[in-house]
């Protein structure tokens, strides 16, 4: 008699409304599509995130590591009620944002990972995530933490988030801040951007494939110089990228 262990290990997702895709014109004049992906597309996404594990600046390595884990957990049915939105420009991956619905009233924002720089893609993607929690899923508030000072300034200070220090955040128990519905409404003109519906051809291009970013963040060209730049005389401060296939370490 086989015990279906998977049934014990797999949480049951509650029904939440889907995120209807939207699009916006970014500073380059290109149109960016923000859409929700299901588990099926996670394997297409992971290879674009993996290289960022080796980019040891701007918190790329830690955010990429955690996003990778969260995506894998979503794919393997080990986290309940997680969602993933991707932003694409001309099919190329520009950003990934994710989070979770803790209960009907409270959302938990996980991460915002921008792979295309200089176009405020992160700002657009973060706004889409907040719209999903408050306007679409009709939650009362979203709990947020920031790994980087830039994130802190952009979200905590700019939107004047409320402190929820008694509530630990799922991302490691640090005290949370909350975007409440009231705060969201006050900032509506910057948090609800983009247009729906997405024109057919634009949406089809995005849905066809998640293409690799053409100019993603890369590890330093010269790891030894980068280690010197970090003030490390042993030249070990920057983890060297894994050796190329076929060559020695």
């Amino acid at each position: 008699m086989a015990v279906d262990l998977e049934k014990l290990l797999r949480p049951v997702d509650h029904p939440y409304p889907p995120f209807e895709a939207k699009f916006m014109k970014v500073a380059s004049g290109e149109d960016m599509v923000v859409r929700q992906i299901t588990r099926d597309e996670v394997p297409d996404l992971l290879p674009h995130i993996e290289p960022l594990l080796h980019v040891e600046r701007d918190y790329y390595d830690i955010v990429a590591a955690r996003v990778y884990a969260e995506l894998l957990a979503y794919y393997r049915h080990r986290v309940q009620d997680e969602y993933v939105l991707v932003a694409q420009i001309d099919g190329e991956l520009a950003a990934v944002v994710n989070g979770r619905f803790v209960n009907p009233d409270v959302g938990m924002s996980y991460h915002t990972l921008a792979l295309r720089r200089g176009l405020r893609v992160g700002a657009h993607a973060f706004a889409a995530k907040m719209e999903y929690h408050i306007d679409i899923a009709k939650q009362k508030e979203v709990l947020i933490v920031a790994e980087s000072p830039i994130g802190f300034r952009r979200w905590m200070i700019e939107y004047q988030l409320e402190k929820r220090f008694e509530t630990p955040h799922e991302l490691g128990g640090v005290p949370s801040y909350a975007l409440t519905r009231a705060l969201f409404d006050r900032a509506r003109n910057t948090l609800v951007v983009g247009r729906r519906p997405v024109p057919g051809a634009l949406l089809r291009k995005a849905q066809a494939a998640i293409l690799p970013p053409s100019n993603p963040p890369k590890p330093p060209a010269d790891p030894l110089a980068a280690a010197r730049a970090q003030g490390d005389p042993t030249n070990a401060a920057v983890l060297h990228p894994p050796p190329e296939k076929g060559k020695g370490a």
Binding site: I157, E158, Y159, Q160
Partner: protein, 115 residues
């Protein structure tokens, strides 16, 4: 005790300076410290202003109103604005209050409101 922001009048030629400089701009003849402190008038006209969104540390607010005011006596000062909708040319009134809070210290300066 009411706090004042001081301008400096040259004892040789009477020219008033704000902020402080060591050598009088008009006569260049003053000896060291040959200035009399003169409290700045409080009323003036808002010459120009900005709403600053990218703030330095010590300021945990989303935005800050800053402006240049031409005071009654012709001196110009920079100050923070506590004005909902500033307009260039509007009459303003200044008061000396805390304008910056560091980790351990407070700094006082001019805050302008609609007159």
């Amino acid at each position: 005790m009411a706090l004042e922001i001081y301008a400096y009048r040259c004892r040789k030629c009477g020219a008033v300076h704000y902020p402080y400089r060591m050598v009088c701009r008009r006569c260049r003849q003053n000896a060291h410290n040959e200035f009399d402190p003169v409290p700045l008038p409080r009323r003036g006209r808002l010459l120009t202003f900005t709403i600053l969104h990218t703030l330095p540390p010590d300021f945990n607010v989303a935005k800050l109103g800053l402006g240049i005011v031409e005071l009654e006596d012709g001196l110009r000062v920079t100050g923070q604005l506590d004005i909902a909708e500033p307009k260039a040319g509007m009459a303003v009134q200044g008061s000396v209050e805390v304008v910056r809070r560091g980790e351990y210290e407070k700094t006082h300066g001019l805050v302008f409101r609609k007159a």
